[in-house]
């Protein structure tokens, strides 16, 4: 299905996440005034998949001007409001109605979509001393999540076990500057990766107090990280240096490949759940891109010098497969559906949320 959907948040978009339970459910985090000062909104949106059939016949006025392949309505199912901006969110892996938000005031807030607004948030985890930038729910152990904060630490939480203590399970202190992201490995229940403004990528086993590996990954701040879903040793990092680097953590001396093409910092990187070779990025250059990371710029350069294997001299296959320009401001949030192959969602400071397919038509900018 190649239908696109769009939604406009009054605030500026920061994060978008597909529900792991329902193909039509999407969480969106947004912040007032670009997240610099003001309130936050945590949305849960629903894509009206059934609307596709009658949409083309009698519901045309609902369509966005590009009539082509249908657009599906994206409607608000719930909206939670916070006093400070929200920078990220993550769905619970064990309860389909629960999600957690990362807030600018250093709190992580747990929401239940099935409960009325006055019963929300279910919990607020207040320990970080500065902004939380990302949250990651453990997809394997399902009962814990991580928060990465500008107070240079990462914290591990179990929302159920700690109901009486209201404290984190553990605090990971090793980064020397803002932690911009921490992401669970999809392969090992205790392993996660973190990236920081200190320019390092760290790999952790949460049973230990110190990281098991620290890689000086980029020359500039590292803003995002994701794990390959097929190869448990491959990690992608995106940086202010505008590149994405792919790492084999067994051989941290040198990256596997470098993906160049973005004009500004790479703000999100996501590995495809259906294809080992594919990853996606969202950048401050306002674009969303699709890459085959196994075609590396470095490989192609060595090919042209006649040093690499295969490839004719002068032929440089580009790892950049596709680039979308539907955002008119920084593209900040990006997710890939684990339920529908090739389905992507992005959001940005232009306040638009867009759902589209990696093999479908380009979504249009919402003005």
């Amino acid at each position: 299905m190649a239908a696109t959907s769009h939604f406009r948040t009054p605030f500026n978009g920061y994060s978008v996440k597909f529900s792991p339970f329902f193909a039509d459910r999407i969480a969106v985090s947004a912040s007032q005034n670009f997240g610099i000062v003001g309130n936050g909104h945590q949305y849960v949106l629903r894509r009206e998949l059934n609307a596709l059939n009658n949409n083309n016949t009698n519901n045309n006025n609902n369509n966005f001007p590009h009539s082509g392949p249908a657009t599906l309505p994206l409607v608000e199912e719930a909206r939670f409001e916070t006093a400070d901006g929200i920078f990220d969110c993550a769905w619970s892996e064990e309860s389909e109605n629960v999600l957690v938000s990362a807030s600018g005031d250093g709190s992580a807030k747990l929401w239940d979509v099935s409960r009325p607004p006055f019963q929300n948030p279910l919990r607020s985890f207040n320990e970080h001393e500065a902004e939380i930038y990302t949250v990651s729910w453990n997809p394997t152990r399902k009962d814990v999540f991580l928060t990465a904060s500008w107070d240079d630490t990462i914290k591990l939480w179990n929302p159920r076990e700690n109901a009486h203590t209201r404290g984190s399970l553990k605090t990971f202190r090793e980064h020397t500057y803002c932690v911009y992201a921490a992401e669970w490995s999809p392969h090992h229940a205790d392993v996660f990766a973190s990236v920081s403004g200190d320019c390092t990528l760290k790999i952790w086993d949460c049973r230990k107090n110190h990281s098991t590996l620290s890689i000086p990954a980029h020359d500039f701040e590292v803003l995002c990280v994701d794990w390959n879903k097929y190869n448990d040793c491959v990690v992608a990092t995106g940086s202010v240096d505008r590149t994405v680097k792919l790492w084999d953590i067994r051989n941290p001396k040198k990256e596997l490949s470098v993906l160049r093409g973005h004009g500004y910092a790479v703000r999100r990187v996501k590995m495809d759940p259906f294809d080992e070779d594919i990853c996606y990025t969202a950048s401050y250059d306002m674009t969303v891109a699709m890459w085959n990371w196994k075609i590396s710029n470095t490989t192609s350069i060595s090919n042209t010098l006649g040093l690499g294997e295969g490839g004719e001299r002068g032929v440089q296959p580009s790892p950049l497969l596709r680039q979308w320009r539907h955002h008119t401001e920084f593209a900040v949030g990006l997710d890939v559906s684990v339920l529908n192959r090739g389905e992507l969602a992005s959001c940005g400071w232009d306040s638009s949320v867009q759902v589209f397919s990696n093999h479908g038509p380009d979504p249009l900018p919402i003005l």
Partner: protein, 448 residues
């Protein structure tokens, strides 16, 4: 609490700004999607909101812009003043105006100069610097891009600051057309005859004006009306003391033509401006460059003496030293055009500079568009669809004079002082001029 919020907000802005420290291509073989205007885009959409500012510590800003009076060559108050004295006068005044600048911090002094003998003029600038009391460690050089030399000097200093060569520098311009008339040394290269554009570089400026007038049907009446308006505006500005804050009086000597007697004078006003010039007076003048032509001594810029100075620095330097920031330097562009119609230069350079600044030509609040000739200035105003109310509001080179190398700096001083005499809605300004041999230059500044 609100204080806390502000601190938090500032902290977030600072953090986010560091996400943009890399924006130029890192490697030769990179395909880059960056465009020049993006940084400004990002500023207008993000850093300017919600605080309404686009201030970054690495910005290049202007903290001082002054000029001498512009006087008529061979007749006016500065006719016997040497280039080094003019340079010394503006440099010393600029340092007096910005007393928090430690002269030892100044990374370079770049002086626009066109007609003076190149090597001699460079030496005169060094002498002028010492006459102004500069420390020996501060270097100096000249720059020559014809009529835009003073503006090019600003651009050179701005780019050196951006490159990190130094944090504060002085751009200046000087011309003594009384002593250094326009001339051509040696013969002409016969090869030029075979390349039209090369040949056309030899066309006298007045003839290029006639070409522009003929090509775009700019009538003698239009040109004379333009010239009369220039004098009217300049006269009114002088009468109302509008130039006072930008003019540095020159203490100098003048030699009486008859008696050869030398006497000390203070020149503190422009002397090319004529009160009461009318279209009718101007209509009586004969065309100079072409039989039946339309360019006269009355609707062309005056031959003049004068100097100007602009101090540029990094915003962080200005903040650290408590300097009052007049404007942010946003963009500069020099673009070529056919030599035989060199007067259209601003019409190509202004859109380019605006694009580089990420603004539209229609966003500009005030222009200093050098009036080399009424023909070309009228053409540029029409072509760019500019309102006459925001172009050369205090008159231009037809009334004030056009000391070639100094004009860019002179225009910058006139522009910035006028902008600061207006309310805060007057935000964006442009200085532009045409350049002999077929070019235009333009700079965009944002008033603070």
């Amino acid at each position: 609490m609100s204080n806390n919020n502000t601190n938090n907000a500032m902290k977030r802005v600072e953090r986010l700004k560091t996400h943009f420290v890399v924006s130029a291509p890192l490697l030769n073989n990179e395909s880059s999607t960056t465009n020049n205007s993006f940084v400004e885009r990002q500023e207008t959409s993000f850093f300017s909101s919600p605080f309404g500012s686009s201030k970054h510590p690495d910005d290049v800003v202007i903290v001082c812009a002054l000029r001498t009076p512009i006087t008529r060559a061979r007749k006016g108050g500065l006719k016997d003043t040497t280039a080094d004295d003019l340079v010394a006068t503006v440099l010393a005044a600029a340092l007096r105006e910005t007393e928090n600048i430690n002269a030892n911090d100044i990374g370079d002094v770049v002086v626009g100069s066109v007609l003076g003998d190149s090597s001699q003029r460079a030496n005169e600038c060094r002498i002028g610097m010492f006459l102004a009391g500069f420390p020996v460690k501060v270097p100096v050089r000249t720059v020559n891009r014809q009529c835009s030399s003073g503006l090019q000097a600003c651009a050179d200093v701005a780019s050196a600051i951006k490159a990190g060569y130094y944090e504060v520098g002085i751009a200046a311009g000087v011309e003594t057309m009384s002593k250094n008339p326009m001339k051509w040394d040696g013969g002409f290269n016969p090869k030029a005859a075979s390349v039209t554009n090369a040949q056309n570089c030899l066309i006298p400026m007045g003839v290029t004006s006639e070409n522009v007038a003929a090509k775009w049907h700019i009538s003698r009446e239009t040109q004379d009306a333009f010239a009369a308006e220039s004098h009217r505006r300049a006269a009114e500005a002088r009468r109302n003391g509008k130039f006072k804050s930008q003019i540095v009086p020159v203490v100098t000597k003048i030699i009486d033509k008859e008696t050869k007697e030398e006497k000390e004078i203070v020149v503190s006003e422009d002397d090319g401006i004529r009160e009461g010039v009318t279209v009718e007076n101007l209509a009586k003048l004969k065309p100079v460059f072409k039989k039946g032509g339309s360019t006269t001594a009355g609707n062309a810029s005056q031959v003049s003496d004068g100097a100007g100075v602009v101090i540029l620095c990094k915003r962080s330097y200005a903040t650290k030293n408590g300097l009052k920031i007049m404007a942010k330097w946003k963009s500069f562009s020099a673009v070529g055009c056919p030599p035989e119609i060199m007067g259209i230069g601003p019409a190509v350079a202004i859109p380019d500079a605006c694009e580089r600044a990420g603004v539209k030509v229609s966003d500009i609040n005030l222009f200093e568009l050098n009036e080399a000739f009424a023909s070309q200035a009228s053409y540029c105003v029409n072509h760019l669809k500019l309102s006459k109310d925001i172009v050369n509001v205090n008159g231009g080179a037809i009334a004030l004079g056009h000391p070639l190398g100094a004009t860019g700096a002179r225009c910058m001083a006139t522009l910035l002082h006028e902008m600061h005499s207006r309310d805060a809605s007057c935000k964006l300004g442009v200085v532009s001029m045409c350049i002999g041999s077929g070019m235009g230059a333009a700079a965009v500044v944002e008033r603070e």
